[in-house]
Amino acid sequence: MKTSRRNFLKASGACLLGLTLWPAVKGFAGNSTEYNTSSKALAGKKWGLVIDMKKCWPKYQEGCRKCFLACQRAHNIPDIANKEEEIKWIWTEPYENAFPDGEHEYIPEIIKGKPFIVLCNHCENPPCVRVCPTKATFKRRDGIVMMDYHRCIGCRYCMAACPYGARSFNFSDPRPFIKEVNPEFPTREKGVVEKCNFCAERVDTGQLPACVEACPAEALIFGDLEDPNSGIRKILASRYTVQRKPELGTRPSVYYLI
């Protein structure tokens, strides 16, 4: 059989086109894998938290640490006594440290030096996300500022950028410091940064954050900031609330009732 040069070129062209299109065809036709959000997931466009310190203090001063303990258990947070290496997701700061610009010498006794519960603010404009070179820290669509520990290289830019000190670095292997291991949540490893994740794993499966659920005084109120009918918005509309360091423009999603 004889093939003319023209026919040979035509056939080659057709083969080449086929080879080029094949991956695209496979991508469209063969791939039927689906990934869904859980049907139980809490629906919200922008999660926020109100902390009512007046409800918290009477319990807190009596030694209630239920929110801290619930968080610690849920997320395998190591209990490291050394202040320089401790891991903090939710903890307390005296008023003067939590609200440095709200402090003056005549502040009422009721808040002076009182412990305020602080955690990651899940900012609208998170500086930690902006500086992360690997995109290990990112903001989800529902406003939760998350960390992908698989990607964290431990450069700690985010710690330098966070104006709230909400991030901790694992200077050593955290596993020996975990009292009670929760097998359903991974631990972290040496050399990564970690912080509060607003219980994204619980919100995605229809549960409230562990701290909110554990609070016996119901001092922590979690809800959707974009839903005008949500409980959290009703509180924000009816009571005077403060945020930490609002002047920085990070727009925190955590509000305080004093």
């Binding site: 959000t37 859980s38 989800r140 097998p183 359903e184 991974p186 631990t187 490893e189 499966t205």
Partner: protein, 132 residues
């Protein structure tokens, strides 16, 4: 051409070194491939002994599947995997995979050691306690 003997000697040494693994192992049978035992209590209790996907696919592509799962869960908040047979599974190493494959030594280490690959999943994810 004055340096030819150095060059040729060098080349021979280079070729011998580079091909060392081939001729050193020539004629020897490869060690038998491990056959992980799937005889865990959880699997025994399953009415239908079927993983999230077919065994052949899991054997060759579990790493791609897990990689995809982690992206979907961590970065997109999607936690449900719809398998090709339509069944839904939670995408979780701890809550899904390890519930059936409860022996890490049997199920993971055996093959990974054989192939000399060291995934670092277990520095964070908690391996199941061996119930023996």
């Amino acid at each position: 051409m004055n340096d030819s003997r150095y060059i040729i000697t060098g080349l021979i040494v280079f070729i011998v070194l580079v091909t060392f693994p081939f001729w050193a192992n020539a004629g020897k049978a490869a060690p038998p491939a491990p056959a992980p035992s799937l005889d865990t209590p959880a699997i025994q209790q399953l009415p239908e002994k079927q993983c999230v996907e077919a065994t052949a696919y899991m054997r060759t592509d579990h790493m791609k599947l897990l990689d995809e799962w982690r992206t979907r869960v961590v970065r997109e908040g999607k936690r449900i995997y719809v398998a090709s047979n339509g069944k839904e599974y939670e995408m979780s190493l701890e809550k899904t995979c390890l519930q059936c494959h409860s022996s890490k030594a049997q199920f993971c280490d055996q093959c990974h050691n054989y192939l000399d690959v060291q995934p670092d999943c277990w520095t964070c994810h908690i391996e199941p306690k061996e119930s023996k």
